[in-house]
Symmetry: C2
Amino acid sequence: MDSTPASAAQDFEPTVRTRIKRLHERGHYDRKTVTEILDAGLVCHVGYVIGGQPYVTATAYWREGNRVYWHGSSASKMLRHLKGGVEVCFTVSLLDGLVLARSGFHSSINYRSVMALGTARLVADRDEKLAALTAFSDRLTPGRWEELKPPSEQELKATTVITLELDEVVAKVRTGPPNDDEEDLDLPVWAGVVPVATTLGEAEADPVLSPDIPAPDYLGQITIG
Amino acid sequence: MDSTPASAAQDFEPTVRTRIKRLHERGHYDRKTVTEILDAGLVCHVGYVIGGQPYVTATAYWREGNRVYWHGSSASKMLRHLKGGVEVCFTVSLLDGLVLARSGFHSSINYRSVMALGTARLVADRDEKLAALTAFSDRLTPGRWEELKPPSEQELKATTVITLELDEVVAKVRTGPPNDDEEDLDLPVWAGVVPVATTLGEAEADPVLSPDIPAPDYLGQITIG
Protein backbone atom coordinates (compact mmCIF):
# COMPACT_ATOMS: atom_id res chain seq x y z
CA MET A 1 0.00 0.00 0.00
CA ASP A 2 1.70 3.19 -1.06
CA SER A 3 -1.11 5.53 -0.08
CA THR A 4 -0.37 7.79 2.84
CA PRO A 5 -2.77 9.00 5.51
CA ALA A 6 -2.15 12.53 4.25
CA SER A 7 -3.25 11.85 0.67
CA ALA A 8 -6.19 9.80 1.86
CA ALA A 9 -7.51 12.82 3.74
CA GLN A 10 -7.28 15.28 0.86
CA ASP A 11 -10.07 16.09 -1.53
CA PHE A 12 -9.67 15.46 -5.26
CA GLU A 13 -8.75 18.09 -7.82
CA PRO A 14 -10.98 18.31 -10.88
CA THR A 15 -9.09 17.74 -14.13
CA VAL A 16 -10.06 18.36 -17.75
CA ARG A 17 -11.24 14.74 -17.77
CA THR A 18 -13.27 14.79 -14.57
CA ARG A 19 -14.65 18.34 -14.36
CA ILE A 20 -18.44 18.26 -14.66
CA LYS A 21 -19.55 21.02 -17.01
CA ARG A 22 -23.24 20.33 -17.56
CA LEU A 23 -25.33 20.22 -14.36
CA HIS A 24 -22.12 20.96 -12.49
CA GLU A 25 -24.00 21.06 -9.18
CA ARG A 26 -24.13 17.26 -9.37
CA GLY A 27 -20.34 16.97 -9.31
CA HIS A 28 -18.46 16.39 -6.06
CA TYR A 29 -14.74 16.17 -5.49
CA ASP A 30 -14.62 15.90 -1.71
CA ARG A 31 -13.13 12.84 -0.09
CA LYS A 32 -16.15 12.17 2.12
CA THR A 33 -18.69 11.95 -0.72
CA VAL A 34 -16.42 9.74 -2.82
CA THR A 35 -15.56 7.43 0.07
CA GLU A 36 -19.15 6.99 1.19
CA ILE A 37 -20.27 5.97 -2.30
CA LEU A 38 -17.34 3.58 -2.78
CA ASP A 39 -17.96 1.97 0.60
CA ALA A 40 -21.67 1.54 -0.10
CA GLY A 41 -21.27 -0.28 -3.44
CA LEU A 42 -20.20 -3.83 -4.14
CA VAL A 43 -20.05 -4.08 -7.94
CA CYS A 44 -17.98 -1.78 -10.14
CA HIS A 45 -17.75 -1.53 -13.90
CA VAL A 46 -14.18 -1.38 -15.16
CA GLY A 47 -13.53 -0.03 -18.64
CA TYR A 48 -10.35 -0.87 -20.53
CA VAL A 49 -9.20 -0.93 -24.14
CA ILE A 50 -7.87 -3.85 -26.15
CA GLY A 51 -6.85 -3.04 -29.70
CA GLY A 52 -8.95 0.10 -29.79
CA GLN A 53 -12.09 -1.72 -28.61
CA PRO A 54 -13.52 -0.67 -25.24
CA TYR A 55 -14.62 -3.40 -22.85
CA VAL A 56 -16.65 -2.95 -19.69
CA THR A 57 -16.58 -5.70 -17.10
CA ALA A 58 -18.66 -5.82 -13.95
CA THR A 59 -16.89 -7.23 -10.92
CA ALA A 60 -16.90 -7.02 -7.14
CA TYR A 61 -14.57 -4.40 -5.65
CA TRP A 62 -13.58 -2.97 -2.30
CA ARG A 63 -11.72 0.09 -0.99
CA GLU A 64 -8.81 0.31 1.42
CA GLY A 65 -7.38 3.76 2.18
CA ASN A 66 -6.70 5.58 -1.05
CA ARG A 67 -7.07 2.53 -3.28
CA VAL A 68 -9.79 0.41 -4.81
CA TYR A 69 -9.27 -3.26 -5.51
CA TRP A 70 -10.95 -5.92 -7.61
CA HIS A 71 -10.08 -9.51 -8.29
CA GLY A 72 -10.77 -12.68 -10.17
CA SER A 73 -9.13 -15.69 -11.64
CA SER A 74 -5.69 -15.09 -13.08
CA ALA A 75 -7.02 -16.65 -16.25
CA SER A 76 -9.73 -14.14 -17.02
CA LYS A 77 -9.26 -11.94 -20.07
CA MET A 78 -9.75 -8.69 -18.23
CA LEU A 79 -7.24 -9.42 -15.54
CA ARG A 80 -4.72 -10.96 -17.92
CA HIS A 81 -4.87 -7.75 -19.86
CA LEU A 82 -4.88 -5.35 -16.93
CA LYS A 83 -2.04 -6.81 -14.96
CA GLY A 84 0.49 -5.21 -17.27
CA GLY A 85 -0.66 -1.88 -15.88
CA VAL A 86 -3.15 -0.20 -18.16
CA GLU A 87 -5.41 2.80 -18.29
CA VAL A 88 -8.82 2.09 -16.85
CA CYS A 89 -12.01 3.85 -16.00
CA PHE A 90 -13.42 2.52 -12.74
CA THR A 91 -17.11 3.39 -12.32
CA VAL A 92 -19.49 2.66 -9.46
CA SER A 93 -23.13 3.67 -9.78
CA LEU A 94 -25.92 3.21 -7.26
CA LEU A 95 -29.52 3.69 -8.36
CA ASP A 96 -31.60 5.51 -5.72
CA GLY A 97 -34.84 6.46 -7.41
CA LEU A 98 -36.95 7.08 -10.47
CA VAL A 99 -37.72 10.75 -10.88
CA LEU A 100 -41.05 11.10 -12.66
CA ALA A 101 -41.50 14.68 -13.77
CA ARG A 102 -44.45 16.33 -15.53
CA SER A 103 -42.53 16.20 -18.79
CA GLY A 104 -40.42 13.42 -20.22
CA PHE A 105 -37.64 15.95 -20.62
CA HIS A 106 -37.28 16.54 -16.87
CA SER A 107 -37.82 12.94 -15.84
CA SER A 108 -34.59 11.53 -14.49
CA ILE A 109 -33.06 9.14 -12.01
CA ASN A 110 -31.62 9.71 -8.55
CA TYR A 111 -28.22 8.09 -8.19
CA ARG A 112 -24.81 8.21 -6.59
CA SER A 113 -21.80 7.48 -8.78
CA VAL A 114 -18.02 7.64 -8.72
CA MET A 115 -15.70 7.61 -11.70
CA ALA A 116 -11.96 7.12 -11.19
CA LEU A 117 -9.41 7.29 -13.99
CA GLY A 118 -5.88 5.99 -13.84
CA THR A 119 -3.44 3.17 -14.37
CA ALA A 120 -4.48 -0.09 -12.76
CA ARG A 121 -1.69 -2.32 -11.54
CA LEU A 122 -1.37 -5.93 -10.49
CA VAL A 123 -0.97 -6.67 -6.79
CA ALA A 124 1.96 -9.01 -7.24
CA ASP A 125 3.24 -9.30 -3.69
CA ARG A 126 1.81 -12.38 -1.96
CA ASP A 127 1.30 -10.73 1.43
CA GLU A 128 -0.24 -7.60 -0.04
CA LYS A 129 -2.58 -9.83 -2.04
CA LEU A 130 -3.57 -11.79 1.04
CA ALA A 131 -4.17 -8.58 3.00
CA ALA A 132 -6.35 -7.23 0.19
CA LEU A 133 -8.46 -10.40 0.00
CA THR A 134 -8.88 -10.35 3.77
CA ALA A 135 -10.05 -6.75 3.58
CA PHE A 136 -12.63 -7.70 0.95
CA SER A 137 -14.05 -10.46 3.13
CA ASP A 138 -14.10 -8.10 6.14
CA ARG A 139 -15.93 -5.41 4.16
CA LEU A 140 -18.82 -7.77 3.42
CA THR A 141 -18.84 -10.22 6.30
CA PRO A 142 -16.72 -9.03 9.25
CA GLY A 143 -15.13 -11.92 11.11
CA ARG A 144 -15.87 -14.54 8.46
CA TRP A 145 -12.34 -14.71 7.05
CA GLU A 146 -11.04 -16.33 10.25
CA GLU A 147 -13.67 -19.10 9.93
CA LEU A 148 -12.77 -20.02 6.37
CA LYS A 149 -10.29 -22.51 5.12
CA PRO A 150 -7.17 -20.36 4.63
CA PRO A 151 -6.29 -19.92 0.96
CA SER A 152 -3.71 -22.36 -0.32
CA GLU A 153 -0.65 -21.01 -2.09
CA GLN A 154 -2.10 -22.42 -5.30
CA GLU A 155 -5.38 -20.57 -4.80
CA LEU A 156 -3.52 -17.36 -4.03
CA LYS A 157 -1.52 -17.80 -7.21
CA ALA A 158 -4.66 -18.44 -9.24
CA THR A 159 -6.30 -15.26 -7.93
CA THR A 160 -5.35 -12.00 -9.53
CA VAL A 161 -5.89 -8.84 -7.52
CA ILE A 162 -5.86 -5.50 -9.33
CA THR A 163 -5.66 -2.08 -7.71
CA LEU A 164 -6.15 1.52 -8.73
CA GLU A 165 -4.98 4.48 -6.71
CA LEU A 166 -7.67 7.11 -6.26
CA ASP A 167 -6.25 10.24 -7.85
CA GLU A 168 -8.38 11.54 -10.74
CA VAL A 169 -11.82 11.06 -9.28
CA VAL A 170 -15.27 12.60 -9.49
CA ALA A 171 -18.54 11.74 -7.79
CA LYS A 172 -21.90 12.58 -9.33
CA VAL A 173 -25.07 12.64 -7.28
CA ARG A 174 -28.68 13.49 -8.00
CA THR A 175 -31.22 13.63 -5.18
CA GLY A 176 -34.64 15.05 -4.57
CA PRO A 177 -37.90 15.64 -6.42
CA PRO A 178 -38.37 16.52 -10.11
CA ASN A 179 -37.27 19.93 -11.35
CA ASP A 180 -40.15 20.74 -13.65
CA ASP A 181 -40.46 23.99 -15.53
CA GLU A 182 -42.43 26.56 -13.53
CA GLU A 183 -45.22 26.70 -16.13
CA ASP A 184 -45.75 22.92 -15.94
CA LEU A 185 -46.38 22.69 -12.19
CA ASP A 186 -50.15 22.90 -12.57
CA LEU A 187 -50.42 20.13 -15.15
CA PRO A 188 -52.79 17.37 -14.01
CA VAL A 189 -50.15 14.66 -13.92
CA TRP A 190 -48.62 12.87 -10.95
CA ALA A 191 -44.99 13.77 -10.29
CA GLY A 192 -42.57 12.54 -7.69
CA VAL A 193 -39.92 9.99 -6.91
CA VAL A 194 -40.13 6.20 -6.68
CA PRO A 195 -37.28 5.17 -4.34
CA VAL A 196 -35.10 2.25 -5.45
CA ALA A 197 -33.01 0.25 -3.01
CA THR A 198 -30.79 -2.81 -2.94
CA THR A 199 -32.17 -5.27 -0.42
CA LEU A 200 -30.91 -8.55 0.95
CA GLY A 201 -33.18 -11.57 1.24
CA GLU A 202 -33.11 -14.29 3.83
CA ALA A 203 -29.90 -16.31 3.60
CA GLU A 204 -30.26 -19.70 1.88
CA ALA A 205 -28.00 -22.35 3.38
CA ASP A 206 -26.08 -24.56 0.96
CA PRO A 207 -28.27 -27.69 0.47
CA VAL A 208 -25.34 -29.83 1.61
CA LEU A 209 -24.61 -27.74 4.71
CA SER A 210 -24.81 -29.64 7.98
CA PRO A 211 -27.98 -28.60 9.87
CA ASP A 212 -25.77 -28.32 12.98
CA ILE A 213 -24.16 -25.14 11.63
CA PRO A 214 -26.25 -22.11 12.57
CA ALA A 215 -26.59 -18.99 10.46
CA PRO A 216 -23.85 -16.59 11.65
CA ASP A 217 -24.58 -13.09 12.95
CA TYR A 218 -22.71 -11.37 10.11
CA LEU A 219 -25.41 -12.47 7.67
CA GLY A 220 -27.70 -9.90 9.21
CA GLN A 221 -25.13 -7.13 9.06
CA ILE A 222 -24.32 -7.08 5.36
CA THR A 223 -24.98 -3.72 3.68
CA ILE A 224 -24.90 -2.95 -0.03
CA GLY A 225 -26.04 0.12 -1.91
CA MET B 1 -35.66 0.85 -36.95
CA ASP B 2 -33.74 -1.35 -39.35
CA SER B 3 -34.04 -4.55 -37.36
CA THR B 4 -36.20 -7.22 -38.88
CA PRO B 5 -38.37 -9.76 -37.11
CA ALA B 6 -36.13 -12.47 -38.54
CA SER B 7 -32.91 -11.12 -37.02
CA ALA B 8 -34.63 -10.38 -33.75
CA ALA B 9 -35.59 -14.04 -33.46
CA GLN B 10 -32.15 -15.46 -34.09
CA ASP B 11 -29.63 -16.36 -31.45
CA PHE B 12 -26.23 -14.68 -31.34
CA GLU B 13 -23.02 -16.15 -32.73
CA PRO B 14 -20.04 -16.19 -30.39
CA THR B 15 -17.06 -14.25 -31.77
CA VAL B 16 -13.42 -14.14 -30.69
CA ARG B 17 -14.40 -11.12 -28.60
CA THR B 18 -17.47 -12.60 -26.94
CA ARG B 19 -16.71 -16.31 -26.56
CA ILE B 20 -16.43 -17.22 -22.87
CA LYS B 21 -13.42 -19.45 -22.35
CA ARG B 22 -13.09 -19.68 -18.57
CA LEU B 23 -16.21 -21.00 -16.80
CA HIS B 24 -17.80 -21.31 -20.24
CA GLU B 25 -20.95 -22.82 -18.74
CA ARG B 26 -21.83 -19.31 -17.59
CA GLY B 27 -21.96 -17.99 -21.16
CA HIS B 28 -25.23 -17.79 -23.09
CA TYR B 29 -25.83 -16.71 -26.66
CA ASP B 30 -29.52 -17.43 -27.00
CA ARG B 31 -31.93 -14.62 -27.73
CA LYS B 32 -34.25 -15.43 -24.84
CA THR B 33 -31.61 -15.18 -22.12
CA VAL B 34 -30.18 -11.95 -23.54
CA THR B 35 -33.60 -10.35 -23.98
CA GLU B 36 -34.81 -11.24 -20.50
CA ILE B 37 -31.75 -9.68 -18.88
CA LEU B 38 -31.94 -6.53 -21.00
CA ASP B 39 -35.64 -6.12 -20.26
CA ALA B 40 -35.10 -6.57 -16.52
CA GLY B 41 -32.41 -3.90 -16.16
CA LEU B 42 -32.72 -0.13 -16.18
CA VAL B 43 -29.14 1.14 -15.93
CA CYS B 44 -26.36 0.18 -18.35
CA HIS B 45 -22.69 1.01 -18.32
CA VAL B 46 -21.42 2.22 -21.69
CA GLY B 47 -17.70 2.08 -22.39
CA TYR B 48 -16.08 4.24 -25.06
CA VAL B 49 -12.63 5.58 -25.85
CA ILE B 50 -11.51 9.19 -26.18
CA GLY B 51 -7.87 9.67 -27.09
CA GLY B 52 -6.93 6.21 -25.90
CA GLN B 53 -8.58 6.69 -22.49
CA PRO B 54 -11.53 4.43 -21.68
CA TYR B 55 -14.59 6.01 -20.09
CA VAL B 56 -17.51 4.17 -18.51
CA THR B 57 -20.76 6.04 -18.07
CA ALA B 58 -23.84 4.74 -16.30
CA THR B 59 -27.12 5.72 -17.89
CA ALA B 60 -30.70 4.53 -18.23
CA TYR B 61 -31.38 2.36 -21.30
CA TRP B 62 -34.19 0.44 -22.91
CA ARG B 63 -34.60 -2.22 -25.61
CA GLU B 64 -36.83 -2.24 -28.67
CA GLY B 65 -36.60 -5.24 -31.02
CA ASN B 66 -32.97 -5.86 -31.89
CA ARG B 67 -31.69 -2.53 -30.53
CA VAL B 68 -30.83 -0.96 -27.24
CA TYR B 69 -31.17 2.79 -26.70
CA TRP B 70 -29.92 5.32 -24.20
CA HIS B 71 -30.26 9.06 -24.01
CA GLY B 72 -29.34 12.29 -22.33
CA SER B 73 -28.74 15.93 -22.99
CA SER B 74 -27.18 16.74 -26.33
CA ALA B 75 -24.58 18.64 -24.37
CA SER B 76 -23.17 15.75 -22.38
CA LYS B 77 -19.64 14.66 -23.15
CA MET B 78 -20.48 11.04 -23.68
CA LEU B 79 -23.26 11.66 -26.14
CA ARG B 80 -21.39 14.43 -27.95
CA HIS B 81 -18.63 11.96 -28.52
CA LEU B 82 -20.77 8.95 -29.38
CA LYS B 83 -23.05 10.57 -31.89
CA GLY B 84 -20.37 10.43 -34.55
CA GLY B 85 -20.78 6.66 -34.47
CA VAL B 86 -18.13 5.01 -32.34
CA GLU B 87 -17.18 1.64 -30.96
CA VAL B 88 -18.79 0.97 -27.62
CA CYS B 89 -19.15 -1.78 -25.09
CA PHE B 90 -22.65 -1.82 -23.65
CA THR B 91 -22.83 -3.76 -20.38
CA VAL B 92 -25.79 -4.52 -18.15
CA SER B 93 -25.22 -6.38 -14.88
CA LEU B 94 -27.77 -7.40 -12.30
CA LEU B 95 -26.62 -8.55 -8.88
CA ASP B 96 -28.65 -11.51 -7.59
CA GLY B 97 -26.78 -12.83 -4.58
CA LEU B 98 -23.69 -13.19 -2.47
CA VAL B 99 -22.27 -16.68 -2.68
CA LEU B 100 -20.49 -17.46 0.59
CA ALA B 101 -18.41 -20.59 0.17
CA ARG B 102 -16.30 -22.47 2.69
CA SER B 103 -13.19 -20.93 1.16
CA GLY B 104 -12.59 -17.40 0.00
CA PHE B 105 -11.47 -18.85 -3.32
CA HIS B 106 -14.90 -20.29 -4.12
CA SER B 107 -16.91 -17.39 -2.73
CA SER B 108 -18.57 -15.57 -5.59
CA ILE B 109 -21.61 -13.61 -6.63
CA ASN B 110 -24.76 -14.63 -8.44
CA TYR B 111 -25.54 -12.30 -11.31
CA ARG B 112 -27.03 -11.88 -14.75
CA SER B 113 -25.12 -9.79 -17.27
CA VAL B 114 -25.11 -8.89 -20.94
CA MET B 115 -22.24 -7.42 -22.92
CA ALA B 116 -22.85 -6.07 -26.41
CA LEU B 117 -20.09 -4.75 -28.68
CA GLY B 118 -20.58 -2.62 -31.74
CA THR B 119 -20.84 0.82 -33.27
CA ALA B 120 -23.30 3.11 -31.54
CA ARG B 121 -25.07 5.63 -33.71
CA LEU B 122 -27.08 8.77 -33.14
CA VAL B 123 -30.83 8.57 -33.64
CA ALA B 124 -31.03 11.68 -35.80
CA ASP B 125 -34.51 11.36 -37.25
CA ARG B 126 -37.05 13.34 -35.22
CA ASP B 127 -39.84 10.77 -35.45
CA GLU B 128 -37.57 7.84 -34.65
CA LYS B 129 -36.27 9.77 -31.66
CA LEU B 130 -39.80 10.50 -30.45
CA ALA B 131 -40.79 6.85 -30.88
CA ALA B 132 -37.73 5.74 -28.92
CA LEU B 133 -38.44 8.13 -26.04
CA THR B 134 -42.05 6.96 -25.95
CA ALA B 135 -40.87 3.35 -25.78
CA PHE B 136 -38.62 4.21 -22.82
CA SER B 137 -41.51 5.77 -20.92
CA ASP B 138 -43.73 2.80 -21.74
CA ARG B 139 -41.09 0.33 -20.52
CA LEU B 140 -41.06 1.88 -17.07
CA THR B 141 -44.52 3.37 -16.65
CA PRO B 142 -47.01 2.09 -19.25
CA GLY B 143 -49.59 4.71 -20.18
CA ARG B 144 -47.77 7.61 -18.53
CA TRP B 145 -46.44 9.13 -21.76
CA GLU B 146 -49.93 10.15 -22.85
CA GLU B 147 -50.44 12.03 -19.55
CA LEU B 148 -47.27 14.09 -19.87
CA LYS B 149 -46.75 17.42 -21.49
CA PRO B 150 -45.67 16.43 -25.02
CA PRO B 151 -42.02 17.25 -25.66
CA SER B 152 -41.44 20.58 -27.37
CA GLU B 153 -39.35 20.64 -30.53
CA GLN B 154 -36.66 22.41 -28.49
CA GLU B 155 -36.65 19.64 -25.88
CA LEU B 156 -36.48 16.99 -28.59
CA LYS B 157 -33.54 18.81 -30.12
CA ALA B 158 -31.80 19.06 -26.76
CA THR B 159 -32.17 15.32 -26.14
CA THR B 160 -29.71 12.99 -27.77
CA VAL B 161 -30.76 9.39 -28.29
CA ILE B 162 -28.11 6.80 -29.05
CA THR B 163 -28.70 3.29 -30.29
CA LEU B 164 -26.74 0.09 -30.69
CA GLU B 165 -27.85 -2.85 -32.79
CA LEU B 166 -27.57 -6.17 -30.97
CA ASP B 167 -25.15 -8.22 -33.02
CA GLU B 168 -22.03 -9.25 -31.07
CA VAL B 169 -23.59 -10.16 -27.75
CA VAL B 170 -22.97 -12.49 -24.84
CA ALA B 171 -24.86 -13.07 -21.62
CA LYS B 172 -23.17 -14.37 -18.48
CA VAL B 173 -25.14 -15.86 -15.63
CA ARG B 174 -24.24 -17.47 -12.32
CA THR B 175 -26.91 -19.02 -10.15
CA GLY B 176 -27.10 -21.46 -7.29
CA PRO B 177 -25.18 -22.42 -4.18
CA PRO B 178 -21.40 -22.39 -3.66
CA ASN B 179 -19.23 -24.89 -5.52
CA ASP B 180 -16.84 -25.83 -2.77
CA ASP B 181 -14.13 -28.40 -3.19
CA GLU B 182 -15.33 -31.85 -2.13
CA GLU B 183 -12.82 -32.07 0.71
CA ASP B 184 -14.07 -28.79 2.22
CA LEU B 185 -17.73 -29.77 2.57
CA ASP B 186 -17.34 -30.89 6.16
CA LEU B 187 -15.64 -27.73 7.38
CA PRO B 188 -17.52 -26.17 10.31
CA VAL B 189 -18.35 -22.94 8.48
CA TRP B 190 -21.68 -21.66 7.23
CA ALA B 191 -22.04 -21.65 3.46
CA GLY B 192 -24.86 -20.53 1.24
CA VAL B 193 -26.32 -17.65 -0.69
CA VAL B 194 -27.58 -14.27 0.50
CA PRO B 195 -30.10 -13.15 -2.15
CA VAL B 196 -29.84 -9.56 -3.38
CA ALA B 197 -32.73 -7.77 -5.05
CA THR B 198 -33.65 -4.35 -6.38
CA THR B 199 -36.76 -3.14 -4.61
CA LEU B 200 -38.98 -0.12 -5.05
CA GLY B 201 -40.12 1.95 -2.10
CA GLU B 202 -43.38 3.79 -1.65
CA ALA B 203 -43.70 6.61 -4.17
CA GLU B 204 -43.00 10.08 -2.77
CA ALA B 205 -45.15 12.77 -4.37
CA ASP B 206 -43.43 15.98 -5.43
CA PRO B 207 -43.85 18.38 -2.44
CA VAL B 208 -45.52 20.89 -4.78
CA LEU B 209 -47.91 18.34 -6.30
CA SER B 210 -51.58 19.15 -5.88
CA PRO B 211 -53.13 16.80 -3.28
CA ASP B 212 -56.02 16.34 -5.74
CA ILE B 213 -53.83 14.21 -8.01
CA PRO B 214 -53.90 10.58 -6.90
CA ALA B 215 -51.00 8.17 -7.23
CA PRO B 216 -51.45 6.42 -10.60
CA ASP B 217 -51.72 2.63 -10.95
CA TYR B 218 -48.51 2.33 -12.97
CA LEU B 219 -46.48 3.23 -9.87
CA GLY B 220 -47.29 -0.19 -8.48
CA GLN B 221 -46.33 -1.99 -11.68
CA ILE B 222 -42.76 -0.82 -12.15
CA THR B 223 -40.22 -3.65 -12.25
CA ILE B 224 -36.44 -3.35 -12.23
CA GLY B 225 -33.79 -5.99 -11.80
